[in-house]
Amino acid sequence: MDKFHSLKGIAAPLPIVNIDTDMIIPKQFLKTIKRTGLGVSLFYEMRYDNDGNLIKDFVLNTSPFDQSKILVAGDNFGCGSSREHAPWSLKDFGIRCVISTSFADIFYNNCFQNGILPIVVSPENLDQLMTAAKNQIEFNIDLPEQIIKAGNHSINFEIEEFRKERLLQGLDDIGITLGYQDKINAYEDDKKNKKPWLFKDT
């Protein structure tokens, strides 16, 4: 998995609440069997008109936001389905950090699986950062120090230690768990005795 350490750049403001996974990547793009190539379809219905032409005033279609690596969005970002195509499309576009007041659980998890840092801030801080983003002030995200700097603002954020470590080191989660294979086997042996009906073959 790609590592995440720090990030500097212009942030794109998207002041909409409840941005759901259908908005991030609509269903027609879920038919792929690959993880890549979805960036062009990110926010498809907000980004393109019915004929497939770019909608000029949508933020990610305007310079310099079309190069943003950071997104600042309204409450409850990523609600809806479990589709990992949502973080895949953000990442493929180039977004590596999303800032909001809250995230839906599955989306939040999925971000960390793909080297994307979702940051939760207070509503007051979100307002400040949204304004800073609109004014094209450079953001500086520092994961080791857990600080967002933008202009005069310096905002600390919380992140669970294991998630931070995984991002910093780009760890392979499955590889780590396979190190516990003996424990998994022992668990199964124990349950085969105690709850045999669970081991009836499907």
């Binding site: 038919k31 069997i33 396979l178 669970l198 009836k200």
Partner: protein
């Protein structure tokens, strides 16, 4: 969470499935059953291949294609991408020795319909699937939640998931449900009350006499939409209703283990004095048949109500959100919900595509005709639901009324297959999401119960089942 003291249903399932703690402090939770479908699994199988990792326990996994399968002429999937996805699932499951119900198998259907139908879903289990509506299985007192594709790969490779415990929330609904009010109205009302982020970080346990009085199918509708309330999982205590439903199904415990299983299942309900991080109590007499007016499942109102006015919003953000929804939905503030004219009716989905739903619809539309300006489609949740309905003559009643009778699948709930709304079309839908573009670009979705959708099909407007004769 301590090991001592009274426990909730969630706490009990959690501690029974803890394999251990990893060095990074995270918990490894054992997964009893893994359901797999064509859309969120190809990249997971590809990942296994790239790292040369086997599936840890293929017999704990069941696969089915449901999301993008056509509901007519299914021998030939016209969309080449959908065809590749379905073929990829068939190939991957064969390669790894995973049981797969193919499109011609009568057991094929929506993954969350067939799990319970086959008896795969059982109390006290942990169940995951790369689909957010996995919460459905919580109706059996199983801890069931949706996961992303990377986690699908993790479960295939290790039969575990890395997880930290959720918080406990209990929503109790008490009293006899008023006439015309059913499980769908109940869950829409709850989502309206706590909001789409209300359950974030929590597992919701539904309790109270209104909930426990529901059939298993009604309970599934409730747990299904837990995700729309922000919770990854919903739970309902297993009881005699649950055991009766499971007994005799193909994958249920056989007679040799039945009593042992029931004894264990009976120990699962939350202890009387268990602690909850959050508690909500609702009196069911305050609930009306509910309908959504906007583009979030929390945008919900009584069928007797009106479209809200943005100026009544408490915050600037909420006001903007209502304005955006109303513009998308093409609705004016103050419009009576029952004055909203419809173009399409969709009955189906993992929320309301079961036999009881179809029976209710049939009883309402029997000997009637759908309004001349609407197109109505009914998509059974599984091949077996379809077969059962046909044996009961339900298909004839529905076809006589003007409904299209389709093959099983997710269909227009998410419109990955050809069943979609056209821009501006307005649909009464028994599904679970009314997001912008969900049922087709520019499509306008009003979520409601099968009873309301059936009555609305006949009148052509959103209709209150209580006024319907």
């Amino acid at each position: 969470m301590s090991n001592q003291g009274p426990k909730t249903l969630f706490d009990k399932i959690w501690s029974e499935h803890l394999v251990g703690q990893r060095e990074d402090g995270t918990n490894l939770l054992y997964i009893d059953r893994h359901l797999v479908h064509e859309v969120t699994s190809p990249q997971a199988f590809e990942g296994l291949k790239l790292s040369n990792r086997p599936v840890h326990r293929p017999e704990a996994t069941i696969a089915v294609a449901d999301h993008n399968v056509p509901t007519i002429n299914r021998q030939n999937i016209e969309d080449p991408q959908s065809k590749i996805q379905v073929e990829t699932l068939a190939k991957n499951t064969k390669e790894h020795g995973i049981q797969y119900f193919d499109l011609m198998d009568q057991r094929q259907g929506i993954v969350h319909i067939i799990g319970p139908e086959q008896g795969i879903t059982q109390p006290g289990m942990t169940i995951v699937c790369g689909d957010s509506h996995t919460s459905t299985h919580g109706a059996f007192g199983a801890l069931a939640f949706g996961i992303g594709t990377s986690e699908v790969e993790h479960v295939l490779a290790t039969q575990t998931i890395v997880q930290n415990p959720a918080k406990n929330m209990r929503i109790s609904v008490n009293g006899e449900l008023p006439f015309g009010v059913n499980s769908k109205d109940l869950i829409l009302y709850i989502i309206g009350k706590i909001g789409t982020a209300g359950g974030t970080g929590h597992v919701i346990e539904y309790a109270g006499s209104s909930i426990m009085g529901l059939s298993m199918e009604g309970r599934m509708t409730i747990c299904n939409m837990s995700i729309e309330a922000g919770a990854r999982a919903g739970l309902i205590s297993p009881d005699q209703t649950t055991f009766n439903y499971i007994k005799g199904r193909p994958y249920a415990p056989g007679t040799e283990h039945w009593d042992q299983a029931v004894e264990y299942w009976s120990s699962l309900p939350s202890d009387n004095d268990a602690n909850y991080d959050h508690e909500i109590v609702i009196d069911s007499s305050e609930i009306d048949p509910m309908v959504t007016w906007g583009t979030s499942p929390e945008d919900v109102v009584s069928v007797k109500g009106t479209v809200p006015n943005p100026s009544s919003a408490k915050t600037e953000n909420k006001k903007k959100s209502i304005e955006r929804s109303l513009e998308y939905m093409g609705l004016k503030p103050g419009t009576k919900i029952t004055d909203i004219k419809l173009d399409k009716i969709f009955i189906g989905s993992c929320t309301n595509g079961r036999i009881e739903d179809l029976r209710k619809v049939a009883s309402i539309v029997k000997d009637k005709k759908i309004a001349s300006h609407v197109q109505a489609m009914i998509v059974p949740g599984s091949g077996l639901v379809k077969k059962q309905a046909e044996e009961e003559g339900i298909d004839i009643i529905l076809k006589d009324a003007g409904f299209e009778w389709r093959e099983a699948g997710c269909s227009m709930c998410l419109g990955m297959n050809p069943d979609q709304l056209k821009p501006g079309e307005r649909c009464a839908s028994t599904s679970n999401r009314n997001f912008e573009g969900r049922q087709g670009r520019g499509g306008r979705t009003h979520l409601m119960s099968p009873e309301l959708a059936a009555a609305s099909a006949i009148t052509g407007n959103i209709s209150d089942i209580r006024d319907f004769t």
